[in-house]
């Protein structure tokens, strides 16, 4: 499968959704997204970290230093309640859009 370019809003949605299953560090987060989308969506590190910081500033995620599986110091990101609300909002918007796009695609 070919890799798709990610829109920024979509990246937020992906990160929020992935983090909703539990706290992750940046590296694991990137891997998880890759894994779930079977490598189709691959957020570049260049966009991932600024996105994470931005989301932290907006209060959607909180971060703290923790230990990774191989006992290395890593920064873990956790969804906040504001993040959860944002996730609901964005997934609904996403559903609406994809539904609308799907309809167009069927008719065209």
């Amino acid at each position: 499968m070919e890799r798709l370019d990610l829109l920024q809003g979509t990246l937020h949605l992906l990160v929020l959704k992935t983090l909703s299953q539990g706290p992750l560090n940046g590296h694991a987060l990137a891997n998880r997204i890759k894994l779930i989308t079977e490598d189709a969506l691959h957020p570049g590190e260049g966009t991932l970290y600024p996105a994470l910081y931005r989301m932290e500033r907006r209060g959607w995620v909180r971060s703290k230093w923790g230990l990774s599986e191989n006992n290395r110091k890593a920064r873990y990101y956790k969804l906040t309640s504001a993040g959860r609300r944002q996730l609901e909002l964005e997934s609904k918007a996403w559903a609406d859009i994809s539904e609308a796009i799907a309809k167009i695609m069927q008719t065209a």
Binding site: H27, A30, E45, G46, Y49, P50, S68, K73
Partner: protein, 885 residues
């Protein structure tokens, strides 16, 4: 303030920077290492694994940059970047930047200078302990129209005894005294005070103590020296306290030396000058003296928390009591006016200072508008740059910050330069030195000034960036990018700039009118005769030999004879109260014969004792009758000469000659009343101020009223100052123990009286000229920009047959149309605002048509001058070049 904020943010960010950067580094390193590990597990070589990980990461610096920006928001770095960017722009356009910075510097400099004065005169408290508790109590004799009169010792005691709200009341009267001893005799100003004077004032001597308080009224022979006198005459002798010094032939014990920074701050009309050299307790018992000898200035200290209104109410009720108890006060309908000392000291200068402060405010506003206008013109050449930056992702708030930084940068540079301009300007200005500004003497760049200039600079930065910021909001992304060089750009922008220009001219007009009115006042002051001719006149002060009147008279006679014999002396005379001098005035009631009893207290006159030669020496005009001569002796028929003002007031158009009036005289037994015949009338002489005539004058022959203080007047045929040495020598040959003082040309007194008006006029004129200059630059900028934008249009017009003259007219018309609007608005503003300076004017009304007319011409002329170059450029343009653009 701006730089301080920058500093704080710098420190804060520098502290934060380490942690944030370290965290980002740590996190990214972790990510990289994990990726490399995975790659290794997948079977890559170490080299390959590392390369791949970095490749996937992309530019590490870019990620760090954007991460940092997100995590930190506004940072020192971005501010530093803005400043660097702004500085680069300014450097790239040195001419433009120079105009911007100078414009701002002139505006801020004007404000810095005037603020220093306002601060030290109006804002800074008087250098006394709790100065707000200090008040002056003036006697007011309503019937005679004297609302700020001194008081008698009886009044002082009564107020002190009866008041509940005043802590204490002191009195002062300043006269002259002769210091003798081992050094040359010297005549100095001596303050006669009540013993509690310094404790009421709240001043502690720097050496020794103060007068023995219990001995008030006992003619205590104690003296306190000012720091200056102690340094000068007593070689700063540390052991001087307790020693005796000779004053007026008697020994006084030094009890203390006042501090170096001690000043005597009293209103000008209190006749308590700042140059008093020493203080002694009243030598006469003021409490037992005549109840109606009004000469003491009352200084009160109110109890803490008492307001002036309360003190006034109490003083009013004391006055009522005194009127019922004393016939003297009932006759004159005595009242008291209680005023705060500081308010009273600045009473004369305050309106001028406030007017100048407002003027400076207008100047700086013009500066702001001008900078705004120039930035706007500049911004339009930068529209592409800005649009491009917005297009590639700079946020508008980021660009706004950049614009704001640029304007703040200009204002900051202008502020620093302005502080320097203000400082130099003030130094120059103080050479005019009106007496009230003595406190400003040591000009320094102090904290309040720096705070004021910083705040002003910041405010100016905001105002100046307002118009460019508003433009930014309207900026459309696509248009500037498409736009070609010639584009007939934004009408709206042109409107903003025209508005700024019109405001500048309106404000400039107001300032010009203000300055014009002050100049007219000064001209009038110079034109109007003070009643005497001050040129080539030398004066000096002397206390004639003590003792009885007869001895004084013959001593003065002798001096006059000797002085008249000096080379170049044309006339010699002497007077008890020289015009425009600060010696305490002598004014009292008088009564013409036949006046109704109830009118008697209404008439007041300034009394002067003069020798026969005085009128000729000072250059006064004898209108009718005769002058005094040697037959007007103490035993002779009592006579007086009155001035034209008093004659008109008393006898309207009838001749005063031969009439009798009841007057006051100074005799060996003190002041006494008696009848005298009017034998002559002289032109009124301005005695206290050139601005206003207060009272008429009565001249008495010196032998018939020999006051102990005299000023000699010598009319010479040469430079009067050159005679000073000879005069000193002559007097010391007559009497070695006589000291003379204030040997100076009469013109000095006149220029001192002119100083406050000079000061105001010079400042107002400087402000107006700066304003005019700035407004002209503003017009020039707008018109030349508009011309450069319309080169193509001009080319078309010329191709269609318009001649250069038409083009010239077209451009001038545009400039003049704006000017007309500006002048009209300015006219309205000036008509309203000029009312506030009417108290500063002399024989000119606030709506003086000539001033308005001239200034209404000046602005269009300046405007034409400003338009001329751009207009010529437009008209001389080559048609082909213009069209090609």
């Amino acid at each position: 303030m701006w730089w301080l904020m920058g500093k704080l943010q710098f420190l804060y960010s520098a502290l934060r920077k380490g942690r944030v950067d370290r965290e980002i580094d740590d996190e990214l390193r972790f990510h990289l290492e994990m990726t490399i590990n995975e790659n290794l597990k997948a079977g890559m070589s170490t080299d390959e694994a590392t390369k791949d990980a970095f490749k996937r990461f992309g530019s590490l610096t870019r990620i760090k940059e954007s991460s940092r920006e997100v995590r930190r928001g506004i940072t020192l770095e971005s501010i530093a970047h803005d400043i660097r960017h702004g500085a680069r722009l300014l450097r790239k356009h040195p001419g433009f930047s120079f105009v911007l910075v100078i414009t701002m510097a002139l505006g801020i400099g004007a404000n810095a200078a005037i603020f220093s004065v306002v601060d030290s005169v109006l804002l800074r408290p008087l250098p006394y302990e709790r100065p707000n508790e200090l008040a002056l109590i003036w006697s007011s004799f309503q019937l005679m129209g004297a609302s700020r009169a001194p008081s008698s010792g009886t009044q002082l005691q009564e107020i002190r005894d009866r008041s509940q709200l005043l802590k204490d009341v002191a009195g002062i009267w300043v006269g002259n005294g002769t210091l003798a001893g081992t050094l040359e005799p010297e005549q100095v100003k001596i303050g006669d005070v009540t013993t509690n004077f310094f404790s009421v004032l709240g001043v502690k001597p720097s050496l020794g103590g103060s007068f023995t308080p219990e001995k008030d009224g006992n003619g205590l022979k104690e003296i306190m020296l000012t720091y200056g006198l102690w340094q000068r005459r007593f070689a700063a002798d540390k052991d001087i306290v307790g020693k005796g010094i000779l004053l007026n032939g008697r020994s006084f014990t030094v009890v203390g030396v006042l501090a170096k920074d001690f000043v005597l701050a009293f209103p000008v009309d209190a006749n308590v000058p700042m140059n008093v050299q020493a203080f002694v307790p009243f030598q006469e018992n003021i409490y037992e003296g005549p109840k109606d000898l009004y000469y003491i200035r009352l200084l009160a200290r109110m109890k803490p928390g008492v307001t002036i209104e309360q003190a006034q109410a109490e003083a009013t009720s004391v006055a009522t009591q005194l009127r019922t108890e004393y016939a003297e006060y009932k006759k004159e309908n005595l009242q008291f006016n209680v005023v705060q000392l500081h308010q009273d000291v600045v009473r004369d200068i305050k309106p001028a200072l406030l007017a100048l402060f407002v003027g400076a405010g207008l100047v700086v506003l013009i500066s702001c508008f001008n900078v705004s206008n120039l930035l706007l013109a500049h911004a339009s050449t930068r529209r592409k740059e800005i649009a491009l930056r917005v297009a590639i992702g700079a946020s508008r708030s980021r660009i706004a910050r950049q614009l704001l930084t640029e304007s703040l940068l200009v204002c900051f540079l202008g502020g620093v330069l302005g502080l320097g301009i203000g400082w130099v300007g003030l130094k120059l200005l103080l050479t005019i030195r009106p007496e009230i500004l003595t406190r400003v003497g040591s000009v320094s760049i102090n904290l309040p000034l720096v705070a004021f200039v910083s705040a002003l600079t910041f405010g100016c930065g905001l105002i100046a960036s307002l118009a460019p910021l508003l433009e930014l909001r309207k900026l459309k992304l696509i248009e500037p990018l498409k736009e070609e060089a010639r584009a007939t750009s934004g009408r709206a922008k042109q409107r903003t700039r025209s508005l700024l220009m019109v405001s500048e001219m309106a404000l400039g007009f107001v300032l010009l009118v203000g300055a014009g009115l002050m100049i007219r006042t000064l001209v009038q002051l110079h034109r109007v005769s003070p009643g005497f001719n001050p040129s080539k006149v030398l004066t000096f002060e002397m206390i004639p030999a003590g003792g009885l009147s007869q001895r004084r008279t013959s001593f003065v006679d002798l001096c006059e004879q000797k002085l008249a014999a000096l080379p170049g002396v044309e006339a010699v005379g002497a007077i008890s109260h020289l015009p425009l001098d600060d010696y305490p005035n002598w004014y009292s009631p008088y009564a013409p014969e036949g006046i109704a009893e109830d009118q008697k207290a209404n008439l007041l006159a300034d009394y002067r004792a003069v020798t026969p030669g005085y009128f000729q020496a000072i250059g006064a005009q004898l209108i009718a009758g005769r002058s005094f001569d040697k037959h007007d002796t103490a035993e002779g028929h009592p006579v007086v000469i009155v001035d034209s003002m008093l004659a008109r007031q008393t006898w309207s158009n009838d001749s005063p000659l031969g009439r009798r009036i009841n007057i006051e005289r100074f005799t060996d037994e003190g002041f006494a009343n008696g009848w005298a015949e009017v034998v002559g009338v002289v032109e009124h002489i301005k005695g206290q101020s050139l601005l206003k005539s207060i009272r008429g004058q009565i001249y008495i022959p010196y032998p018939q009223s020999s006051r102990e203080h005299l000023s000699f007047v010598l009319r010479t045929s040469q430079d009067p100052s050159a005679l000073a040495g000879l005069v000193r020598k002559e007097i010391s040959e007559i009497d070695k123990t006589r000291a003379i003082a204030k040997v100076r040309p009469m013109e000095d007194y006149v220029s001192r009286a002119l100083a406050p008006t000079n000061f105001t006029t010079v400042l107002a004129t400087v402000f107006a000229v700066v304003a005019l200059l700035l407004a002209t630059v503003g017009i020039y900028a707008v018109v030349s920009y508009s011309v450069s934008q319309r080169t193509h249009e001009m080319g078309v017009r010329m191709a269609l047959g318009a001649r250069p003259a038409n083009i010239l007219r077209l451009v001038l018309k545009e400039g003049l149309a704006l000017t007309a609007v500006g002048v009209t608005l300015g006219l309205a503003g000036a008509l309203v605002l000029s009312n506030y300076i009417s108290s500063l004017l002399f024989e000119v009304t606030a709506k003086d048509p000539l001033t308005y007319f001239v200034m209404a011409l000046v602005i269009p002329l300046a405007s034409i001058a400003a338009c001329w170059r751009p207009a010529r450029k437009a008209a001389s343009g080559n048609v082909l070049d213009a069209l090609r653009k």
